[in-house]
Amino acid sequence: MSNQNIWVFFELSDGRPKRVCLEMMQKAKALAEGSSGKAAAVIIDPEPEEASKAAFENGADQVLVVRQKFFFESAAYILEKLAAKYEPKIVMIGATTEGRDLAASASARLHCGIASECTDVVITGSGVFWIRPSYDGRLNTNIGIEEAPMIGTFKPGIFKLEEPAAGRSGELYEETVEVPAGVLLTQLLGFTPDDELTKANIEDAEIIVAGGRGVGSKEGFGQLYELAAVLGGSVGASRAAVDEGWIGKDYQIGITGKTVAPRLYIGFGISGALPHVNGIKESDIIVAVNTDPNAPIFGVANYGIVADLNVICPALTKKVREMKG
């Protein structure tokens, strides 16, 4: 008989857990609170100490550690073995590049249900319900899974990250799983950083200056890059601007692009269509500038200005520059 435990798979980068894992860990703790279950982190890494500490501080009651190098194929095998032993109810996995493959492979090994790239999860008496966007974000699909274990994946920025509880601790379990040679059929040869892509790594940005159809041209984005630089933030875009070819697809924010949850989001010339809004709604503060007073974005923004972005953007850049000295 399986228990009510909720697992969060921790994917590390240089020994540090990826932000999405901490977000899910806090959510798992909140979910476990209402039930008899515990929230646990699963860490596969030769040096899991820092991540274990972070897991406890972000809500894990238990941490399971396997001291091995992480790769999605072996990790899926390990998860299968651990799940057979500990019988968790839910396994949450970050929808990162490797996380997606891990989740799909693990769901095949576990023959279990999976809800991918969800925006929320709700546990009730009659089962677990996963909410994910569909039809370009215009409608949400509610997916029900009853049997344990089940997997749910989440993109970064879906759950807001609160302050961790420094010094909090819990139960640590070390497991050894021998992975047979035939499991590893794929090999990661290496990683090459790319400046263009770095600029577009907006999921972790604390401040985002985004542009939409109102920006009008590729050159029009220049003022947004300037404001972003002065604020110490990143530039993003709506699908309309990307489709026009004014900026690359890696900068696209929305249901078919990236989900962001910055401290501050400023949208210039963005109408606020649902697919885009779904990608920014976890932002702490949303500011919108648009010449159309009926733009839907004003229904979502905390602060709105009906004005020409070509006037407001440079004026804002000048003001912030003055303030920062």
């Binding site: 999605f72 590049t97 089940m150 990661l188 501050l264 200005i305």
Partner: protein, 263 residues
């Protein structure tokens, strides 16, 4: 076909033209009537990758789709591009299949019609957008798994791919047999040839149902079910700052943001 030539499979999906679907926010209904159908965009790039491999190594490409009769049109489209044969998988018991059950059906069809050296597919489909099938299927088949390829290099024993990963590119490699999913920036799909169009008209799609595939009921169970659809919650209206005087507007905005320690 030559001795030692490769057998390559490309998996295709017929999807609705999502933008044409009308959604009634009041009654949470979806009106799919009259909505066009098309080949999932990324699949065209999977076909191209498959044909490039067949050309380089000698071999033939087969297309396969799980779908209703209308989906035969995407199989014909594949043949017009150079694919040699096509299968359509269909049965009442496949209805409502989630990604697990779908992968089980595909695996059974691959076991029945293969073995294949390489299975290509689109990285994700525009309707479900789960991107689950490649790694799931690869795991079930015991094949190497190369997903989200934006660049494909043919090696001695398999494929090496590049894919976007956060701040840069990852390079991965696997030997045949393997599953490779392809993104839309991986290549430029060729246009149909005159010969291809003729072959496409002559194509007899082989239909495989569960009587032929013999998949046990247990493997066709879908652990996840769509319970319903509903519109996202409406968000609260915020504070409007008068925009007539830009200097004043900017000053007020900055003060408000500073009060919130926004930057």
């Amino acid at each position: 076909m030559k001795e030692g030539a490769m057998k390559i499979l490309v998996l295709l999906k017929e999807v609705p033209v999502v933008s044409e679907i009308r959604i009634n926010r009041q009654y949470f209904t979806i009106d799919r009537s009259g909505v066009g159908k098309m080949m999932n965009p990324a699949d065209r790039h999977a076909i191209e990758a498959a044909l490039v491999l067949a050309n380089a190594r000698g071999g033939e490409v087969t297309a396969m789709t799980m779908g209703p009769e209308s989906s035969e049109s995407i199989l014909r489209e594949a043949v017009s591009l150079g694919v040699k044969a096509a299968y359509r998988l269909t049965d009442k018991v496949f209805a409502g299949a989630d990604t697990l059950a779908t992968a089980a059906v595909l695996k059974a069809a691959i076991d029945a019609t293969g073995p294949y050296d390489a299975v290509f597919c689109g990285a994700s489909s525009i309707d479900g957008v789960t991107g689950q099938i490649p790694a799931k299927l690869g795991t079930m088949l015991g094949y190497g798994i190369l997903t989200n390829a934006c660049k494909i290099e043919i090696t001695e024993a398999g494929l090496t791919i590049d894919r976007k990963a956060g701040t840069g590119y990852e390079k991965l490699t696997a030997s045949f047999p393997l599953v490779c999913s392809v993104t839309e920036d991986a290549n430029t799909p060729r246009k149909p040839s005159i010969k291809g169009r003729t072959m496409s008209k002559r194509l007899v799609v082989e239909v495989l149902d569960n009587e032929k595939l013999q998949i046990p009921a247990e493997s066709l169970k879908s652990p996840s079910k769509v319970i319903g659809l509903f519109p996202p919650p409406a968000l609260e209206k915020g504070q409007m700052i008068p925009g007539e005087d830009p200097e004043a507007a900017v000053a007020e905005l900055v003060e408000l943001l500073q009060g919130q320690a926004a930057f």
